[in-house]
């Protein structure tokens, strides 16, 4: 097993725990924005998609790379934008809270 792979496992496990601990504190009222925001973050696969599109050779690789970039960008732009749109609406109206 390569050193790189083991390092990846370490990062994966630690990031999972960090994610779990932070996200557990997200209140239910923000669960939808959390989901769409997390969804945008899963668009990080754009990095892999760009690498795939850049380094692949041949028509099949080119088509797969292009589609990967398109799909990932839908996720990134769509996810962050729609989350922002939702969060803009979450307001505390002064004087109404008791």
């Amino acid at each position: 097993m390569s050193q790189e792979f083991i390092q990846g496992v370490v990062v994966f496990v630690l990031a999972s725990f960090v994610g779990f601990e932070i996200i557990r504190r997200v209140p239910p009222t923000l669960h939808t924005p959390l989901m769409s925001g997390a969804n945008a973050i899963s668009g990080i696969t754009i990095v892999g998609a760009i690498i795939a599109a850049a380094t692949g050779s041949g028509i099949a690789a080119g088509v797969l790379g292009f589609l990967a970039v398109v799909f990932a960008m839908i996720n990134v732009i769509g996810g962050f934008l729609v989350t922002d749109r939702m969060l803009e609406m979450f307001k505390k109206v002064p004087g109404k809270s008791r």
Binding site: P27, L30, H31, I41, I44, A68, F71, V76, K92, R98
Partner: protein, 467 residues
């Protein structure tokens, strides 16, 4: 130790910075005050990651051809335009299906990355990279087709009711086993055909696994697919040896997992039970129609609400269907002017995705600190004069507490029956998703107001104004 060049250090730290920005951004989402900034911080992390990967490729002279640039640039523009269009155009009531679709694209992208690597490599993978590549392909493919079935159900393209597949859960188990077998074959022999067979089977599995799941279980399905989209990205990260993907993917995997567990606790059902079993009672419509209920008119509702001190509104999917969030707000404002205290009690699985109701009420400018979750609202019902239930059913069904034979027995519910009066706005007496009768409707303190949610709220508002 191999000394890294300055370029390599910049690249490694750049990806780390992206990961840190994701974590800081998610931390912002723990409070409504900081949430919007948090989302923007996470998006900056994404921008950093994209800049770093371009820098990485350019500095290693890996984007040699103009074709590659065209593919990347074209893909970014096309994907960005589609994503932006969908995000800006969507109605808040349609949010569950949009999030489902985005999950699908994310999972699909990771599967495509893994597929491209398989097409491009000359030598066989090591076992561990073979495993992560297969997982990325399989999880990504299930997420892609599963999400689009979820989308089709939520959008009403196919019925929201469970669709039985031939052979039931056994069919899915066989497809899953075949998927694993094909992957093991590919990893063991280096024959890439195995990966493609596994991919094809996983695409089918996404469809056959989600089709039998009913509309009200969608919060669980969407959460799980959300988790999957993250896991697929993390696995792709192992395949291409990129830690940004591993960090980002792990964070999303954890987020989706927490939501999935929350939802299954809120339904008192295990995840396998939700995914693999049909669900529902057998009460027929005729049986339900025979028992007497107390009917309410707009005037009855207006009088009860106006002379109350404390009112709690319980919204459900019917509110979203009727687009009644603004009508609720208008009624609540009118009541508050009369000195009535109005809060909102939101069950975790109300609507079609976690937090669905909160987003709708926020859209109507209802202050988020008036929205109570299950634990905050249950102690209050005893001191509440009127509970106004709008298009919710199973989440307020006392059978979950009292009837051991009920399919929903044990599910935590909003104890609205503890309030003095309950007004239920509902289109008809038809049973909810669970297909079971609701004893609350026949209780002494319950009034049934049969109407579309929006119409009922508007009529009640004009009756309140005439008092």
């Amino acid at each position: 130790m191999i000394e890294l060049s300055f370029t390599e250090v910049v690249i490694a730290l750049g990806y780390l910075a992206a990961g840190v920005l994701f974590i800081v951004g998610l931390k912002g989402l723990t409070s409504p005050k900081t949430a919007r900034r948090g989302n923007r911080i996470a998006s900056i992390g994404m921008l950093v990651a994209i800049i770093i990967v371009i820098f990485d490729l350019v500095s290693h002279d890996q984007i040699s051809s103009n074709t590659a640039w065209a593919i990347i640039g074209g893909g970014v523009l096309v994907g960005g335009a589609i994503g932006g269009y969908l995000a800006l155009r969507v109605k808040m009531t349609d949010m569950p299906q949009l999030v489902a679709a985005f999950n699908g694209f994310g999972g699909g992208a990771s599967a495509l990355v893994a597929a491209e690597v398989i097409v491009s490599i000359e030598a066989a993978f090591s076992v561990e990279i073979g495993v992560t590549t297969a997982l990325s392909l399989i999880i990504g493919s299930i997420t892609l087709t599963g999400s689009f079935i979820a989308y089709a159900k939520l959008q009403g393209l196919i019925g929201g009711k469970p669709v039985a597949i031939p052979g039931g859960p056994a069919t899915n188990a066989i497809i899953a086993a075949a998927t694993v077998a094909a992957s093991v074959f590919a990893i063991a022999t280096g024959n890439t055909t195995g990966y493609w067979i596994a991919t094809g089977l996983a695409l089918v599995l996404g469809i056959t696994a989600v089709l039998p799941i009913g509309g009200a279980d969608m919060p669980v399905v969407i959460s799980l697919l959300n988790s999957f989209s993250g896991l697929a990205a993390a696995m792709a990260g192992f395949t291409i040896g990129n830690q940004a993907l591993i960090i980002g993917g792990a964070l999303v995997g954890a987020a989706g997992l927490i939501l999935t567990l929350d939802m299954s606790v809120a339904m008192n059902r295990s995840i396998p039970n939700i995914l693999f079993s049909g669900f529902g009672g057998t009460v027929s419509d005729e049986e339900i129609g025979t028992k007497p209920v107390k009917r309410a008119t707009a005037e009855d509702a207006a009088i009860a609400l106006s002379y109350a001190e404390r009112v709690i509104v319980v919204p459900g999917y019917g509110l979203a269907v009727a687009q009644a969030q603004y009508a609720v707000r208008d009624l609540a404002n009118a009541l508050e002017e009369k000195g009535v205290e109005v809060h909102y009690a939101i069950h975790p699985v109300a609507g079609r995705m976690p937090g669905h109701m909160n987003v709708l009420l926020a859209e109507a400018d209802i202050s988020y600190d008036l929205l109570l979750d299950l634990d905050q609202s249950n102690p209050r019902f005893g001191q509440t004069d009127v509970v106004l239930v709008i298009g919710a059913n199973d989440v307020i069904n006392p059978a979950a507490k009292n009837d051991e034979n009920s399919p929903i027995y044990g599910m935590p519910i909003l104890n609205v029956d503890e309030a003095t009066t309950v007004i239920v706005v509902k289109r008809s007496l038809s049973p909810g998703f669970a297909g079971i009768d609701n004893p609350l409707f026949y209780e002494e303190g319950t009034m049934m107001y049969f109407a579309d949610a929006k119409v009922a709220l508007e009529e009640t508002l004009s009756a309140v104004n005439q008092l």
